[in-house]
């Protein structure tokens, strides 16, 4: 979308915004950014700003690996282009606004790697099917402090799941965070203390997939920023502690048609063929999906019995132990809930899109989750479900340590 930068500069200045923080997620989901002086917006954002494509292959320790856009390719430019529809005033930093950027190759083609570009390609495939994906993100995170050399939980009293107030937020940090996130205007509507001490959740409304992904990215960026400004750490790491539970990203997922009609159920309240095909696709590809929904070595350590995280390829109605797909059959509110251990939201949507293209597939429900019987006779099999990979595949990836490479 073309934007009149002079007009945008004037609008931002009228709102008291003098710095526009241009942000985009790298492949790991880490927020990369540049602060643009609004007074210079016409020049600074006319053809960029440009970054280096090495950002796509930079690991968390600062190593730049050999891949697309790396040293072997000459470290070419990553050209960003702000999406003015995503601008949000940052309420905890006067004069600052966030804006999400798309990434392009030097020749002007959309980046084949940028998560937002990947999602755009997936949405094109949905459009070809006459479907619109709708997602509702639900993220858990811990708030930690660092009294010494290491980050630790602020609280240690267990048993306070689904609570709010000073008992679980003695310094009011979470309440203030909730208010700030509300004022960021990304569709937050509630928050609470979660199962483990110092673990919290803030709920976001559902919306079309690109908007939901953008809001999820803004949410994570904002929460981490708010905590850091107070000398604290908000971490969405899958399992940061040995003695407490991990944090999940529960993705509520449905599709509508182009008239905004939910296509997940039939007129008589059964799951639709589309919904069944989506479940079948997720189950069929669940092992591969594990690599995307558990994007770190650590995330796999959350998986197991009684963790409320999926470790079997299975599904059920309103069953939090079921794997991958949870179907809630309630007329127009019918959604699947994909319970993941950590987050890589754009790629996850890519995989679920492929499931919608396989309408001949039907899921079987069964295994140890002891879910309610499926109302459809086709799906009453009690065939035991298979385990998902408990770790990344060492045989596939094992090799010489990176330090031994040239």
């Amino acid at each position: 979308m073309t934007v009149d930068l002079a007009e945008l500069r004037q609008e931002l200045q009228d709102r008291g915004i003098d710095v526009l923080r241009l942000i985009y997620p790298d492949v790991l989901g880490i927020t990369r950014s540049k602060d643009l002086l609004v007074s210079q917006l016409e020049r600074a954002a006319a053809h960029g700003p440009a970054f280096c494509q090495g950002v796509w292959v930079t690991n968390t320790r600062g190593g730049v690996l050999d891949g697309h856009g790396s040293i072997s390719d000459g470290l070419p430019d990553l050209v960003s282009r702000l999406d003015a529809t995503t601008i949000r005033t940052v309420p905890w930093e006067p004069g600052l606004a966030y804006v999400i950027a798309d990434a392009f190759e030097p020749n002007g083609d959309p980046s084949p790697i940028a998560p937002r570009s990947v999602l755009a390609r997936v949405l094109d495939r949905y459009e070809a099917l006459g479907l619109v994906p709708v997602t509702g993100p639900e993220l858990e995170f811990y708030i930690a402090h660092r009294p010494g050399d290491t980050w630790t939980r602020v609280l240690n009293k267990t048993g306070r799941v689904y609570t709010t107030g000073s008992m679980v937020d003695p310094d009011g940090v979470f309440l203030e965070m909730l208010r700030m996130i509300d004022r960021l205007e990304i569709g937050a509507f509630a928050g609470n203390h979660e199962f483990s001490p110092s673990q919290y959740e803030i709920n976001l409304w559902h919306s079309d997939a690109l908007d939901a992904a953008d809001r999820t990215f803004l949410f994570k960026t904002g929460v981490k920023d708010i905590a850091a400004a107070q000398g604290l750490l908000a971490t969405f790491m899958g399992k940061p502690w040995n003695d407490e539970g991990g944090s999940g990203f529960h993705l509520h997922f449905s599709v509508t048609d182009e008239d905004d009609v939910n296509r997940m159920h039939t007129d008589d309240g059964e799951l639709s063929d589309i919904a069944l095909a989506m479940i079948a696709g997720i189950i069929e590809h669940s092992a591969a999906l594990s690599a995307l929904t558990n994007p770190t070595i650590n995330a796999f350590k959350r998986l197991g019995p009684d963790t409320l995280a999926p470790y079997r390829a299975n599904w059920g109605y309103d069953n939090r132990s079921a794997v991958r797909a949870r179907a809630s059959n309630c007329a127009s509110a019918t959604v699947l809930q994909i319970r993941t251990s950590s987050r890589l939201p754009f790629s996850l949507r890519h995989s679920t899109a492929s499931s919608a293209t396989s309408p001949r597939h039907r899921p079987r429900q069964g295994g140890r989750t002891r879910t309610s019987p499926h109302p459809c006779s086709r799906c009453r099999s009690r065939k035991r479900s298979t385990h998902l990979p408990p770790t990344p595949n060492w045989r596939t990836f094992s090799g010489r340590p990176s330090s031994a490479r040239s």
Partner: protein, 35 residues
């Protein structure tokens, strides 16, 4: 895949028992601030 392969290689090289289900200090150092 490049990033994940690098991550797994560094983990295998630096953690005494890569198959452990316990959260290691390597993971804390690798993930807790960025994720």
């Amino acid at each position: 895949v490049t990033l994940k392969k690098d991550e797994l290689e560094r983990y295998a090289a630096e953690v005494e028992d890569p198959a452990t289900r316990d959260v290691t200090q390597w993971e804390i150092d690798e993930y807790i601030e960025d994720y």
